[in-house]
Amino acid sequence: MSNLSLILVLLLVMALGYQFGLVRSRNVAKSQLNVPMHSRSHHYGMLVALWAALPAFIILLLWLLLAPTVINSMLLSAVPIDVTSLKADELRVMLQRISNLAGNFGVVADAEPWERAAAVHLRQLKANSTIVLSALMAVIVAIGMLVSLYSITPKLKARQQIERVVKVLLILCSAVAVLTTIGIVLSMVGETLKFFSYIPPTEFFFGTSWNPRFSTVGTQQQGSFGLLPLLAGTTLIAGIAMLVAIPLGLMVAVYLAEYASLRFRNIAKPLIEVLAGIPTIVYGFFALVSVGPFLRDLGAALGLNINATSALTAGVVMGIMIIPFISSLSDDILTQVPKAMRDGSLGLGATKSETILKVVLPAALPGIVGAVLLAASRAIGETMIVVLAAGNSPALTANPFEAVSTVTVTIVNQLTGDNDFSSPQSLVAFALGLTLFVITLLLNVMALVIVRKYREQYE
């Protein structure tokens, strides 16, 4: 049976167990009328369902995790050639060939006789594994259901047991978030260390030229892997984006929070926030086919030489994307500033703009700085706009009218649909990813700390 049908059977078993437990607990209650049952009858049903399905499910998971390794080692022990003399790559290729043959994907004609025998053997092993697994699960389901059915007594604290299981499940759910972070850090650190075994870290972090030639593994020419041009491009584009987004976003926030009537605010705010919900690929396309040519023509009219795909194009469009980010965060922060501060300033005769510039904004400054940092981290990590509109030319330049490349673009270029991470050319993507992760993490933590401090000040 396939794994999916096993899971479906387990669901069926749960439904059955629930019914059995329900009926059984009612019978028990009827036979012992003088002793009240500890829990409601559906609790007993759930308990039986859990006992029947959960252990078998855990066995299934363990089996799925461990069986491939066990089957491979059994297969290798049966293969007539000396396995220990093979390198890891050759071994993997051999196993892949055999499993292709077994799955009818391989070309049977050029297979050697021992390979065919191994494929037959593998198919047999897999069939056996499924049979053993099904039988094992059936036994465990039966034991679990019977034991739990016969343990139903008025004293059994079914509800507490279920609640304990649910609580463990909830804890596991929250563990996933932590595991994701750990997974990100571990996988990227691992691959980055592999990358540093080819290219020394100093060359990566301080190199001023980026030219990763895709050469075959093992040749001397590996190309140059300098991070600086990419980092410069990233900063340039993010800087332009912030130049566009900060003044616009901040003024929008000020106007909506301080001046606008409630009706205007209720219409304008969601409309501007539509910008935040548009997928970045759409911005990228917009930048590529509309903004880029427009800026090029504008530059030509002014006598400037602006590339259609340039740091400026990507930066301006990214700035548009970030406006609602800054405006709604700052808006929240501005409305948190106590009214007493405004009233005090107005009472002393200051105009509204003077109050905003000299009292409200300084008071809200930490929060706004936090918002700006969050927006900057988003700008640095943004990918699709830059992939389409920045021109992808990793040159170390400060000229915004030229094509540049960024960290994110390079990750996409070095690692598009490749599952062979053995050359430095693809491993470098993980080193770049780790750099990006650390930079954005620092910005985020700084922003969170600042915002949190600020909240405490006024709460």
Partner: protein, 456 residues
Amino acid sequence: MKIITDKSIPHTATLSLVQQKVIASLRHRQRKETWFRRLGYSAVLISLALVAILFANIFSKGLPAFWQSAITLDIYFDPQIIAISAKPERRADELTADYQQRFLAWQTEVGFINFNRLITDSLQKLVPDGTKHKRDLARLVTSGERFALRDMVVAEPSIIGQTRRLNLLTDANIDVWLKGNIDRSLPDEQQQLSANMRDWVDALAANGVIKNRFSLALFMNADSRSSLASAGLAGAFMGSFYMMLVVIFLAVPMAVGAAIYLEEFAPRNKLTDLVEVNINNLAAVPSIVFGLLGASVLIGWFNLPMSAPIVGGLVLSLMTLPTVIIATRSTLKAIPPSIRQAALGLGASKMQSIFHHVLPLAIPGILTGAILGVAQALGETAPLLLIGMKSFVASVPASPLEQASALPVQIYLWQGNELRNFFEARTSAAIIVLLMMMLSLNGVAIWLRRKYQRHW
């Protein structure tokens, strides 16, 4: 605030020097006030204008692509060209495998038939001088349509010998030519269509044989590279659909579970503080980093298939998890403690008080957060590129384990197509489809919030 206007100020001559100074400075300050206010107003207007420009731009480019030029032909399913044996019928005493064998043999037979002949024969009646330029004639109709004819024959063999009036898609370049997306004055060597094709097309369009019709191909077909005019979004749509299913059934329950634990059960200590900071950070990690995680862990270690929606769904689930956790937590936080206390006071256990009383009240808020998370996942592109979903897939995936594309990735692939004149509009049309889906998701979220929002 009462503002001193010019009228309320007495004539300058009667005022002292100090008063005059004050009045001058007041005027100056009021002017500054007006300017500041106008600055804010124009910032809002500029932002709104940007929204309008973006949408107007995409829609003006994309809407024409929903209609595509098609040619109306009377196709005679000539028995001399379609010389095939009868379609095998399943015999009662026959094994399934034998029937399959015979059916496959028959399909191979069908595959060898030159269905293009049917099209060119029919075209010759409309284009008298077409016989001299057979090659050009065959190029009028996009190459994918001959497979449509084949499928008609396979589905209904009795059609052989009959004549049917069909609307067939023209070549992509003809669509470009008729829509005026190419400069008609360009010299011959820069035109995609030969001179006689251009004349034919103009004549046929004037006759009404070639017409702009609503493009079903855009919605019914998968991507195509050989027959550009019939490239559609169906494959990408199904890929996105499977991924959203994974997100809905994996990320949403998990996020709600995590949020319940963190908000209701977790003790307040250093560890839960760390988990909270971690979740907040995870929400701000660039999406491409999740793609790297998927590439190295899911594909590298767990050996899951490349380009499969299940892997994409898992990556997007991890990405949306923190968003939904944060939304759910703030919803739970907003539910007043009196609800919990009342339940506990009546003898409910903590678990019961949460699952029977708090959670039902939180469901609108949780749904809003979940929908916004799903919408975010629907539009995400970068992580999918890293797990191989960039590859060209010419079929509609039948299960989440098969190779597939996704809507945003399809947009990325189409914008890079060489036939720019045609695919700029087609890409914009795909964007419109994606935006409509996202806007309707967001609309549902807003509606839910409006309808069920409670102020405690």
